[in-house]
């Protein structure tokens, strides 16, 4: 489990997971249709889309919360159909949700190890190795570039960005190969977003494949290697970084021609010349 992050770097570029023509419907509502995506180790793949574009459905399929109805989902060369997040986790797919899985009143180290606690050798592993866990938490955070001495403080006292970072460090420490981040910067200010994106790249450098879900093309373009655009449950574009610029990404993300039309509608009428008594009809 406790794979050292540094040992993962050998497999850079190997395919971790791929979706091919995946679709999902809830009853008669088509939530997702014909989406394809490939994620390699040491790569950040961004999924962009507006609210209701199908981003959440896509994460839920990848992380095992929902099963897909159409297409194929392949993890490490093997086709899968997950029944629970546990199964995805066992294959090294960890998800950090927007409403983070942390317990605010518990100390940072207790949160870090929650569900994967370490016991001491004595007492048959019954007794918690509190000192060891504190030290490991400090080290794991330091390896991600987070310097936090007092791991005894309640995690609720950290800012949203810091909590995201701890959650990311936790996933990396417990041997995740794929990290799915659900809108990690949505609720954060500019500076905090920057810190989080830094740790996203740290996870990438540790050899993980990262799926970054966002509706902010600026954040995506800062770190992304590949961009998948979703619109109304369908793929509206899939570009490697080399093929697309920030301008184009923003435009596509915002709805392309829809946006052009909107900006036309919203444009102010030309300011009438002050010398004229009344505007032209």
């Amino acid at each position: 489990m406790n794979t050292d992050a540094a040992t993962n770097t050998d497999g850079m570029g190997t395919e971790l997971l791929s979706l091919d023509g995946v679709g999902k419907s809830y009853g008669t509502v088509l939530a997702l249709q014909d989406v394809s995506l490939t994620l390699r180790a040491g790569e950040i793949s961004c999924v962009l889309g507006d609210n209701g574009a199908g981003k959440s459905t896509l994460i839920k399929i990848i992380s095992g919360l929902h099963r897909h109805d159409e297409g194929s989902y392949t993890v490490a060369g093997e086709e899968v159909r997950f029944d629970s997040p546990r199964q995805a986790l066992e294959r090294g797919i960890a998800t950090v949700y927007q409403d983070l899985a942390v317990v605010p009143l518990m100390p940072v180290w207790r949160n870090f190890f929650l569900g994967s606690e370490q016991g001491t050798r004595r007492w048959g592993g019954l007794r918690l190795d509190a000192e060891g866990m504190r030290a490991t938490t400090r080290e794991a955070l330091a390896r991600m570039g987070i310097d936090l001495h007092d791991v005894d403080r309640p995690i609720g006292t950290l800012s949203g960005g810091q909590r995201q970072c701890v959650a990311i460090a936790r996933a990396v420490h417990f041997g995740a190969k794929v990290l799915i981040l659900d809108e990690p910067t949505a609720a954060l200010g500019v500076k905090q977003s920057g810190v989080v994106l830094k740790y996203v790249t740290a996870a990438r450098d540790a050899g993980l494949g990262v799926v970054l879900i966002t509706h902010n093309p600026h954040h995506a373009y800062l770190v992304g290697d590949h961009f998948t655009l979703l619109r109304r449950g369908r793929m509206a574009g899939s570009h490697p970084r080399a093929e697309i610029g920030l301008e184009q990404l923003t435009t596509e993300m915002a709805g392309g021609s829809d946006l052009a039309e909107l900006s036309h509608e919203l444009a102010r009428p030309p300011v009438p010349d002050s010398r004229e008594e009344r505007p032209q009809p």
């Binding site: 899985a101 009143l105 929650l114 569900g115 994967s116 016991g119 936090l148 810091q162 810190v195």
Partner: protein, 348 residues
């Protein structure tokens, strides 16, 4: 490098007041201050309060609350209530007595059947909670009413009166009495068996909470059950085990009542569940779960013991005891909310 700087700018680097902050954020702090205050008041108001014999009496009163306050506080940290805890004690005593009387002539059989019964009722509470997703307030209110009725109904049906028959002439009564209701006198200080049980439960309970994986899960299921589930904590199982703990405590206290008084009144125990909760809250447990301390619950029980006996020693009107308890509860709850805010928001 730069990342460290960023975090430092946000205040993460400021660890200087950590020790002070940690002390202020301890859940037991309020109850410790309150215990000292209550002790001081009665020590000043009533000369007999300071005698060794009084200490024994106070400890005994505290222990009969404390034995239940330990598992009840663990349950509250786990985010749940148990309103059936008070009558469950009576159920434990009644079961033990009646099984011994009706089926065998050996008290140990009744004692063991009673343990199985209280654990089964604890399991039922936990199972209903996990299955129905109803609030524990409702589930255990149901159990409370059912047990209250069953205690009376079964006792009347079997013995014809509201109390059980004497079992003091049975085989095993003396050894059971030694285990649950004996007393040791050392230099004028009389310590009842319940005090040892209380201390034992206190040490085990506190150790489990702070130093085991299960303890980590107790905090987690009470603090944020969804987050706990997301990282693989078995939420329903954890809560069920906490209800089993309450069942065990009720069993111990029930056996004590039986073997010290020989007969059991079937209507007893109603209202005590609230006193256990009060002790836990005074000890720093949040009503909403996720925060609290077992040691604090013991201080809460001690305050209860000192106040209930101290009022008598000081010859004050004991009618005001409940008033005092209620005021204490409100103060404690306010303090807990304050401590929680401190713990959550930190110094910033």
């Amino acid at each position: 490098m730069s990342s460290t700087d960023l975090l430092a700018q946000e205040g993460l680097g400021r660890d200087r007041p950590a020790a002070v902050r940690r002390l202020l954020a301890r859940p037991e702090l309020g109850s410790l201050i309150a215990a000292v205050a209550v002790f001081t008041v009665f020590a000043g108001a009533a000369e007999p309060f300071l005698r060794l014999s009084s200490l024994g009496t106070v400890l005994y009163a505290a222990s009969t609350i404390g034995i239940m306050a330990v598992p009840v506080s663990l349950l509250m940290i786990g985010g749940e209530f148990d309103l059936s805890a008070g009558v469950l004690v009576t159920t434990a005593a009644l079961t033990s007595s009646m099984v011994s009387y009706q089926f065998t002539a050996v008290t140990w059989v009744g004692v063991l059947v009673s343990l199985a019964t209280t654990l089964a009722i604890g399991w039922f509470n936990g199972f209903m909670l996990g299955r129905t997703k109803l609030p524990s307030f409702i589930v255990t209110l149901g159990t409370f009413l059912m047990l209250t009725g069953a205690n009376l109904g079964v006792t009347k049906a079997i013995s014809g009166t509201v109390s059980t028959k004497s079992i003091s002439d049975m085989e095993g009564f003396e050894s059971c009495r030694r285990l649950f209701a004996s007393e040791v006198t050392v230099g004028g200080l009389t310590i009842k068996a319940t005090v040892w049980w209380w201390l034992g439960l206190l040490v085990v309970g506190s150790w489990v909470l702070l130093r085991t994986r299960f303890g980590n899960w107790i905090f987690a299921v009470g603090g944020d059950a969804d987050a706990a589930r997301a990282v693989g904590v078995p939420v329903a199982r954890t809560k069920t085990l906490l209800y089993l703990g309450v069942g065990f405590g009720a069993w111990v206290l029930g056996q004590h009542l039986l073997f010290s008084f020989d007969t059991v009144q079937s209507g007893e125990g109603i209202g005590n569940e609230l006193i256990y909760i009060v002790a836990a809250v005074i000890g720093g447990c949040l009503i909403t779960g996720g925060y609290g301390s077992v040691v604090g619950s013991a201080l809460g029980a001690l305050i209860f013991g000192m106040a209930s006996k101290g009022i008598i020693y000081a010859q004050w009107n004991p009618d005001w005891f409940k008033f005092f308890l209620g005021a204490m509860l409100l103060l404690a709850a306010l303090l807990n909310a304050y401590v929680k805010r401190r713990a959550e928001r930190g110094p910033r």
